[in-house]
Symmetry: C3
Subunit: 410 residues, 3 copies
């Protein structure tokens, strides 16, 4: 697995892109054993852009450390630009941020290891000086890894991989990067593998457990109990410009069920206002898009499942809306802070997804359990997702070199 | 080990019973290496009835989840009868009780998985419906394991095994099921393997550390420091009707020691009222009976060591007394709640056994340590116990399929 | 590794001493792969004296238990003399100190196991009686290990090894045992392997991170940023009378650096009073000596890194000063308690060393990482230390037999 992480991923990415370019369109989802690649995806997918921080979390001059896909990454904003390097000195490999109070810098654009003064250029990772030993021959020769960073829509993205970074557009769902789009949201650490976040999110029938969410019952909304697949319909694999995703048109592909029989008794969905979500789609490297779930059809929800380690992920939740001007933007932010943050992203709705992932983690922490499932028709969506990971991921992350440091997750 | 759990236990149980039936009585304890079976018993003994809950812990309609011998079991009382199934949906195997607030049920006698509405008959474990997908072809074909349950003396017993359940009588000590017997007690989670509970309990000379228990000193009771085995006497192996046990007639088999010499100084037992317990006996699958320890000779103490995992057990303590009528019963309950619960079952006495087990756990968590002991004569009782487990257990539990869920132990 | 612990260490110690005796002086540090012995040293070095307790921590009659190099050791002061035995009964191997409240003793000079009254002579470890079974044939035949103890300078030292104990002088730095020397200090548990304590302490350029310690800035002291090795100078290997150490004459071997350039900017050491420490030396089995660091040149600092387990060590800090009479001694103690304990041994200075060790632990918990370092010239001090351990340790401790008991570290 390690080997694959270090070499081959670039070629693999090129091969995949070539496959798509030639046909000029989507490449069919491979059949066969998706288990192989899906198991290999345990630690995350390599050669993708991932959201690391919201822009407001890292001010000019500030350092922040984040553990992502098992790598410790140090971020720093310099002259307005966020830069990132490996949070590990070349000398004894200690974390540059291990000192209480955080990483130190004598000159903007550099980070100096608290231990022996090894100083790195934040742009390149080059060792440019050693304060305790100015003529150290390592200077100019040694370096720590630097990570490509791009900041868009108020979000700091970092490229994790060894291939040349591609366009951000390929790694975020369509519609995320609209110029007039305002992004609000939050992120938190969840105690499950990242794939379980993705599976729960894209699973069309998991709506069952949301039927009693405050956002549903408090608005007399009538959520279906289940969804029957319409014959001949299923999630569509989409491939364009390096982007790979699965789009499930929920209103078209499924017929909502508002009642069901249990041992002779009828169970009915509550609420009076019928409501189904228009579309759920999932994209590599693990981001879900939900349209027209909230009353305002212009609000779109995105959620990322960014691996921290094999048993934790960063759950990054975003709500996005086009805003014509500053007034509309202010209004949207106020609505989010006053209403949707609590009623949608927290305990009004998404917190239920969190305990579902944790319940799955108890089972699937053992990778073998994936072959014990007994699936039903709408689980086809999950199979599509797993196949997409198996067949279209640009690369697979290997196990982490360093264990999770104490206090690394902020 | 797994293999043995799944197949063979029935045959083994039959073989053991056959062995006994033919001779019409007790089968002699095998000599030789008891280590084999005793090590295999680490996760518990299979094909036995175990106490899971006190009746008052599970009211009509209520669900309770318990982890026993590494299996997660869901209990539910329906029309007065307690039923039990595997706490694990066939679909993605999540615990049916994982949802905050507990398992859900739309119709009495069924349990519905919170995730996708898979609904099971609590009596059979059959999948009888799927709320999110009413025509799911798994309905009527898939099922979760169901567990035989019987409720006697205010205690809910569950059968853990694959053989046909035998009579409860075979798996509880003689005298427990008397019709006019009232049972009171409590249960708690102890951080040691279940076998260490059994060893500490049946060990005749562990009374040494009880000599300063409040129940002893506070009543001027004179506990012996030690017990000398009377030549020719030892615990008797008892086998009848599928029941296997060892009975140690403490007053007959041992001579109490009230003083001892330590490097020339004499140590004397304190107290003025001589007292020895009449009988200590231990029974498969791991339950101790102590008669005539309390002032009222009609009160008998039973304690079960029910495996939760390999490093925890449920310590189920019961005090039993025949009661002629409701008045006597009320009086017994009042005495227990006011006096014996605290002075005998908790910190007046049995709490000392708990730290002894935890001290043993530090050593015997490593199974190999059992061959490093240096035993003395009265340890013959332990050897008898280990041999009985090795030679007479109906089956051995394998390692757990699912890890211990958070919050599973109530 | 186990084998080496049990046999061979004596021969090895003899061989090493022979090597030295023949040449009549220091044996050159071996070149080649120091990794072998240094990795083997993970659990500590065997056949040495280690500080276990300050004398004031163990009063007449008191028992104390300590975990050292993975062994549980029980100390007891009898008629003024501290004695030590294995904290593990021969019977079921439980810790003699496992009982809440601690080990029990009926007669001074003996310890009685709380479980079955097995009684040991604290001097020899011999089983001299069994309270529960006075005629037990194990009496006079079984024994627990006893540990040689010596008490000097207000410190209780224990010999951990199987070779005959050598003189204490060989295992403490020169100057520690001066007759008029008063020792003050403290000890605490640090969450890192013991070798990382030694490496951080002997590393000459780790002074960089101390430059902002309160003891430095609060006294306008000017600590160098770094140290340039003077050509031809390096730490000297010292071997005499069984003692092995490395002495680094900091003022002679290095040229202090008070400014350095970082990407074109100059960084200067703060403070106005120039100050370098005279000498740093490190001695087997892992004790550092620092002279002339404090304003009073007669105060010498010693610090021991005593392995508890592979991932924890006991950090024993001592400040020593010759005192002409009781008045001077009182004054020294008052100064220590009022000033140096806080300003030097705790958060004024040494606490910084503690987080450095914990940062190293994240990396070197994986032994393989030692081959990934990129070292610089002054790291020669570390290489000397590692080679000394590899080539001159009397023996290597194997992995612990019993896991760390709860509450064993006091």
């Amino acid at each position: 697995m390690r080997r694959r992480q270090i070499m081959g991923t670039t070629e693999r990415a090129a091969e995949l892109d070539a496959g798509v370019d030639e046909s000029g369109g989507a490449r069919p989802l491979r059949g066969g054993r998706w288990h192989v690649g899906y198991t290999e995806a345990r630690h995350g997918l390599r050669n993708y852009w991932y959201p690391a921080l919201f822009s407001h979390e890292i001010e000019e001059g500030t350092f922040r450390t984040r553990r992502m896909l098992g790598e410790n990454i140090l971020f720093n904003r310099v002259d307005g630009t966020v830069l990132a390097v490996a949070d590990s000195c070349v000398h004894h490999m200690v974390r540059l941020s291990a000192k209480p109070g955080g990483a130190e810098s004598h000159v903007p654009g550099t980070v100096t290891c608290w231990y022996h003064g090894f100083t790195y250029d934040m742009r390149t990772g080059d060792l440019t000086g050693v304060l305790t030993q100015p003529d150290c021959p390592l200077i100019g020769r040694a370096k720590i890894a630097s990570y490509p960073v791009t900041e868009r829509q108020g979000v700091v993205f970092v490229w994790i991989g060894d291939a040349e970074p591609g366009p951000l557009e390929a790694d975020v769902p369509p519609g995320f990067l609209g110029e007039d789009h305002k992004v609000v949201g939050l992120r938190r650490t969840i105690a499950s593998n990242w794939r379980l976040g993705a599976e729960n999110g894209f699973d069309p029938t998991h709506i069952y457990f949301h039927r009693e969410a405050p956002i549903v019952t408090g608005t007399s909304r009538r959520m279906p109990l289940g969804l029957n697949m319409v014959p001949g319909k299923e999630p569509e694999f989409v491939s364009a410009g390096g982007r790979r995703g699965l789009v499930d048109m929920l209103r078209e592909n499924y017929e909502p069920l508002y009642e069901a029989e249990v041992n002779g008794s009828v169970v009915k969905a509550t609420g009076t206002h019928r409501s189904t979500t228009e579309e759920g789609s999932i994209w590599l490297p693990g981001v879900l898009k939900i349209t027209k779930f909230l009353p305002d059809p212009e609000m779109t929800h995105f959620e990322w499942y960014v691996p921290i380690d094999e048993d934790r992920h960063d759950y990054v939740q975003m709500l996005v809306r086009p805003c014509a001007d500053a007034d509309e933007e202010r209004d949207f932010v106020a609505q989010y802070d006053g209403m949707w943050k609590q009623m949608f992203h927290r305990d009004g709705f998404n917190d239920q997804d969190i305990w579902a992932r944790c319940a799955l983690q108890e089972v699937f922490a053992n990778e073998d359990e994936w072959s014990s499932e007994q699936l039903m028709k709408p689980d086809m969506a999950l199979i599509h997702w797993r196949r997409m990971v198996h067949g279209h991921a640009r690369g697979f992350q290997g196990p982490p070199r360093f264990p999770a440091p104490k206090g690394s997750v902020d």
